[in-house]
């Protein structure tokens, strides 16, 4: 099957070369970081995690979001999704690869990375996060590959694959729950110390993952003879709508608890993130933009007419992605560190090399995604799906 990735039109190769170039830029920037240390990033003693860990968190969500096509298909026997589960699974694979890379570029001492395995600490959530993410990636590779090969040969996939599929469904929930536990169990970081964190993570994952999938489906339809399907996209649109409403509802719950209780620790990070405290905040315009995107998304997704039209749905999905990306990829991590343990505001903003390294990681993820989707498309075109 792999050979199908090697035959493609000009556009396909063009995209791959473009992504490779970006990967190269990212890699060179990383070499610079590797020799100079993380001082070339915007992180500091006070804001000791930044853009990298934020992106890790966001893409765990995208990976988990893929389950929103698998679950209806296998647990509710919603057959229409059978056509696109593979797209969800391969999106998950590419996302987990990005997560792994974002952890790697964030480490201060990469050569010692295996210490996590040599001296494992079972009370460390990072240790568990690494395990669940890797297993999830493996599950998706094995499932996706076997189901697709079977489809190509015109046979039904084997029974044991089905077992793995059933395991992969709760596993998707676990990866984002464990990732939320990285934050939600830390004393003294009030913005993170909330029991609803995992629920917020899952709702935003189940909105942003399928939203990205819708956009990818539309692209796939444009560039190939494989049509993921009108009904499939419409159903996904409904899922995005519900999940995103839930996501915003959860945010309102947080705001209520913080501002009705008036407990300073609970309000401070929100005050800072949204620039409510008088002194300006570099993040405030972004956080407000996130809210703006959310409003646009809510309108386009709730009004049936705009949700059912594919062009307005696409805009809605892009707004969901933008809103959750800012909220989770940026605000969440940084908001936890500001104000610092002494009640002081010390700000953070990513540097150019930091952004370039991140671009390199995204490019790697999209490179893998492009190749995997190319294989899917070739097989689907071959069998005339």
């Amino acid at each position: 099957m792999l050979e199908t990735a090697l035959k493609g039109r000009q556009g396909y190769w063009g995209l791959l070369i473009f992504l490779l170039a970006l990967m190269g830029v990212g890699f060179v920037s990383y070499l610079y970081q590797f020799s100079e240390g993380l001082r070339i990033t915007g992180m500091s003693r006070d804001v000791s995690w930044g853009f990298y860990i934020g992106q890790l968190t966001y893409f765990v969500g995208i990976a988990a979001g893929g389950v929103m096509v698998v679950l209806p298909c296998y647990l509710h026997d919603y057959k229409a999704f059978g056509r696109i589960t593979i797209l969800g699974e391969f999106l998950a694979v590419a996302s987990v690869v990005m997560c792994g890379l974002f952890v790697i570029v964030d480490l201060g001492n990469l050569p010692r990375m295996l210490n996590i395995m040599i001296y494992p600490n079972p009370t460390s959530i990072l240790f568990w996060d690494m395990i669940v993410l890797n297993v999830y990636m493996l599950l998706n590779i094995i499932i996706g590959w076997n189901v697709l090969s079977a489809e190509r040969k015109g046979v039904h996939y084997q029974k044991w694959v089905k077992v793995l599929i059933y395991i992969s469904i709760p596993w998707a929930f676990s990866i984002h729950t464990v990732t939320a536990f990285l934050y939600a169990g830390i004393p003294g970081r009030h913005y993170w110390l909330t029991a609803i964190m995992a629920a917020r993570f899952l709702s935003s994952a189940f909105a942003s993952g399928p939203a990205l999938l819708i956009l990818l489906c539309l692209i796939v339809r444009k560039v190939s003879n494989f049509d993921p399907g009108k009904e499939q996209i419409r159903t996904l649109g409904g899922i995005v709508a519900y999940a995103f409403i839930l996501n915003m509802f959860f945010l309102l719950l947080e705001l209520f608890t913080a501002f009705y209780s008036q407990i300073p620790g609970h309000m401070h990070s929100f005050d800072y993130l949204f620039g409510l405290e008088g002194h300006g905040s570099v993040l405030a315009p972004w956080m407000w933009a996130s809210i703006g995107f959310a409003v646009v998304a809510l309108v386009l997704l709730i009004v049936p007419a705009t949700r059912r039209r594919e062009d307005t749905l696409a805009v809605g999905c892009a707004a969901v992605i933008a809103s959750t990306w800012i909220d989770k990829g940026f605000g969440l991590v940084i908001g936890g560190f500001i104000p610092n343990p002494f009640g002081r505001v010390f700000e953070y903003w990513p540097t150019t090399p930091e952004v370039l390294i991140s671009v390199g990681v995204w490019a790697t993820g999209f490179f893998i995604l492009t190749v995997l989707y190319k294989i899917v498309i070739s097989v689907k075109e071959e069998v005339g799906a």
Partner: protein
Amino acid sequence: MGLDRREFLKVAGLAGLLGLGGKAAIDMFAPGELEASMETIPLTEGKRWAMVIDVHKIDETIIKKCVEACHREHNVPDLASKKEEIKWIWKEDYEHSFPERHHEYVGEDVEHGSFLLLCNHCSNPPCCRVCPTKATWQREDGIVMMDQHRCIGCRFCMAACPFGARSFNWGDPRRVLEDEKLKELNPGYPTNQDYPTRSKGVVEKCTFCAERLAKGQLPACVEAANTVKKDALVFGDLDEPDSNVRAVLRNHYTIRRKPELGTNPNVFYIV
């Protein structure tokens, strides 16, 4: 004396056990008393090192001395950057040492008083709980240690510490030796040849001077403070009912930073 005699003998005895020359140290400070007292003092007893800082006794001079003593002892460089700052012990005002206790009518002396902050060597340390490699861990005697040779630089411990006690080597600290400006700021770096310098990408923090305790010496900051004012900083074993720290805690009202978080800090402040 910062550390009472019995306490001191225990430390020194432990050092002796470890073959680290504690005997010599004891002979110097308490000649002739070594053999007898060591027999009767169990060295393996559960211990819990703690520090009491008397805010009424410390002033700018003492604070400066303490910070300098620690940072010279442990080769902590001044990197002339707030962003990359590395500090094991430092001065802080009341409002930011105890942000949740602060109010606008607090008395002048407290408001303008200076505090010394350092790692609390918490009895229930979240930093150790989250470390994926056990590069930071709690010893039997309660000291929260760092292994800079195992640390992978994930900085999870920094996120988990509610006291801002940890610093990260964002760059190579040894560049101090090459950079002209930094060289001027850090004359003689590394100031203590017997203590290792760190590499880039690892976390560091106060170790309660574990290496000095092993030799029967008081922590460098305690020693420095006490050369100026007796009992400004008191160091001892909380687990020992008759210890110096227990006596001080019995006789004074003390507070700890953020006790509500349940980390159980072992640094106390007399206010």
